[in-house]
């Protein structure tokens, strides 16, 4: 294919001009705020330095926020991905009518997040929630506090599931049904198949999905804000409280915390890109 036919300089300049409006808006609403945050995270009072970061990593309060964020993100991603793996594998094995219906429903619930989700969970799993009462009555649990770390992990897991299914369902394409049959012919049991063929083939996709779920949970703000009115100590809540709260406005400190969050995200995104590159591709 001829990639660069001579099309005249005028055409190319016009084409570049068409990119200008996009560039202006992208810089104004994506790049500029980020640059402001990066620069001001280094501003301490009237001077510049790493003071804000030093404060974060020596403050129990901020470290607790980071720890909570990581714990909730990790466990909700883990539970989410386990349910999504089991679900999407089974989805491929049932008749197409049921599959299409549940897939469509799952895609719809992926938009059920944030404030409405927090409300729904208060209704079913709050102190007087129907499910809480039911579970207490049949003796499975003694009490359940939705507004605690464990409660948030349950809530986050819920919004990780549809995303996990959406991302993992296509990954099972890599696993061809005839391999299973070949393995069975050679004497491999179900466990052997998964241990030596299934899981190794799926590993890159699983890790990639896990990484996206982690990022999804780390940056989540709306759900936890709506649920606890900003009283639960996680990174996004801390950041927002310092720019939009009523008590202690401190945009510089908020910037430093925001950069910590971005740093975590960058590590995660880089890991994802790296996994994507070395992921297993089925030869077509």
């Amino acid at each position: 294919m001829t990639a660069d036919k001579p099309r005249g300089n005028r055409g190319r300049w016009l084409a570049l001009l068409c990119l200008l409006p996009f560039a202006v808006f992208f810089i104004a609403f994506q790049i500029a705020p980020l640059v402001w945050v990066a620069v001001h995270s280094l501003s301490v009072g009237d001077s510049w330095g790493l003071g804000n970061y030093e404060k974060i990593f020596s403050s129990k309060f901020y470290l607790q926020a980071i720890k909570h964020s990581l714990q909730i993100a990790f466990w909700s991603s883990l539970f989410g991905i386990v349910i999504a793996v089991l679900g999407s594998y089974s989805l491929r094995q049932v008749d197409s009518k049921l599959r299409d219906f549940v897939m469509a429903f799952s895609n719809m619930t992926s938009n059920f997040a944030g404030v409405p989700l927090a409300f729904a969970f208060i209704i079913i799993l709050g102190f007087n929630g129907a499910l809480t009462l039911l579970l207490i009555k049949i003796g499975l649990i003694e009490s359940f506090n939705l507004y605690s770390k464990n409660g948030l992990i349950v809530l986050y897991t819920y919004f990780q599931i549809p995303l996990g299914v959406l991302l993992l369902y296509p990954a099972f394409d890599a696993l061809r049904e005839d391999w299973r049959e070949s393995a069975a012919l050679l004497g491999a049991g179900t466990w052997d198949f998964w241990r030596h063929i299934g899981l190794p083939v799926l590993t890159p996709a699983l890790l990639g999905t896990f990484v996206i779920l982690l990022a999804n949970a780390l940056g989540a703000y709306a759900t936890v804000y709506a649920l606890t009115t900003g009283n639960f100590n996680v990174l996004p809540i801390r950041i927002a409280a310092m720019v939009a709260g009523d008590i202690s406005l401190n945009p510089d400190m908020a910037s430093a915390l925001a950069m910590v969050l971005v740093g975590l995200m960058v590590v995660i995104t880089a890991a994802h890109q790296w996994l994507l590159k070395r992921s297993y591709h089925v030869a077509r």
Partner: protein, 265 residues
């Protein structure tokens, strides 16, 4: 096939799929029931059913205003996104295919930088001065463009690759069309489906956006999500009716996107 022979396995997969469905359904079903019940506290099932919460909701002028404002902001943001992203896609894929690599990195930014981080900068940059937009819907429209960008870029790129842009353009030009004519009359109609799907999906996503709306604008131009959050101290039944009405609306849009996606050749 081995599927039919293996009865216990088939049953297992059906059970798993139904369980998945039930888990996903539970919060919605609970909210729906709550929104229809007269009162429901400290018991497993409600005491009676009614539509009064929906009537109360849909006759609340503040709700209707928030609903209309949400729609307005979302539509404006989608229009802006289309106007900015379509030319970009065309130019990148037709004139500078190498830029696609750069774009694929740039569209990661809205993912890697959570809205709460952007908000810190946005509040300061546009809080005062010549570009003071904080507290107005304008800043939301700009932010929502960045939110919709990755979805639209990916969806339309896939569509563009499927239609073989270069051959289509060459064919149109051989038949005497100018670059503009070829782009508008030949390429654009072929992108209609990818565009519609990404618009529906972006809409349902933007309609549920809360972080930017709450931090940058809040009650000064109340959108549906902010209204929902501000109503949290009112009756739970009322809120449930609000959640269900919201979800029903999103459902229509995702369903439409799904349908469009399925008809795809």
């Amino acid at each position: 096939m081995s599927l039919a022979e293996n009865k216990p396995a088939a049953l297992y997969h059906r059970v798993v799929v139904w369980l998945l469905f039930l888990i996903l359904l539970l919060p919605l079903a609970g909210t729906l029931l709550y929104s229809l019940s007269t009162s429901w506290s400290a018991s497993i099932l409600p005491s009676g059913l009614t539509f009064k919460w929906y009537v109360a909701l849909w006759s609340d002028p503040r709700f209707l205003a928030a609903f209309a404002q949400s729609l307005l902001v979302c539509f404006a943001a989608l229009l802006l996104s289309v106007l900015l992203i379509l030319p970009l896609l065309f130019v990148v894929h037709y004139h500078f295919p190498k830029l696609d690599g750069l774009m694929n990195i740039l569209i990661l930014l809205p993912f890697a930088v959570p809205p709460v981080v952007s908000s810190v900068g946005l509040l300061q940059v546009y809080g005062s001065g010549p570009l003071a937009m904080v507290g107005t819907p304008w800043i939301l429209i700009g932010c929502y463009f960045t939110v919709a960008l990755p979805f639209m870029y990916r969806a339309i790129t896939n569509n563009l690759q499927a239609i073989n842009l270069r051959d289509l353009m060459d064919a149109a030009q051989l038949l005497g069309a100018s670059t503009w004519q070829a782009a508008f009359l030949v390429v654009l109609p072929n992108l209609r489906k990818g565009l519609m799907v990404s618009l529906f999906l972006s809409f349902s996503f933007l309609f549920g956006e809360f972080v930017f709306a709450n931090l940058l604008v809040g009650t000064r131009y109340e959108t549906l999500q902010v209204y929902l959050n501000n109503m949290k101290n009112s009756s739970g039944h009322f809120n449930s009716a609000l959640v269900i009405s919201y979800f029903f609306f999103v459902l229509i849009f995702t369903w439409a996107a799904n349908r469009l996606n399925k008809d795809r050749p």
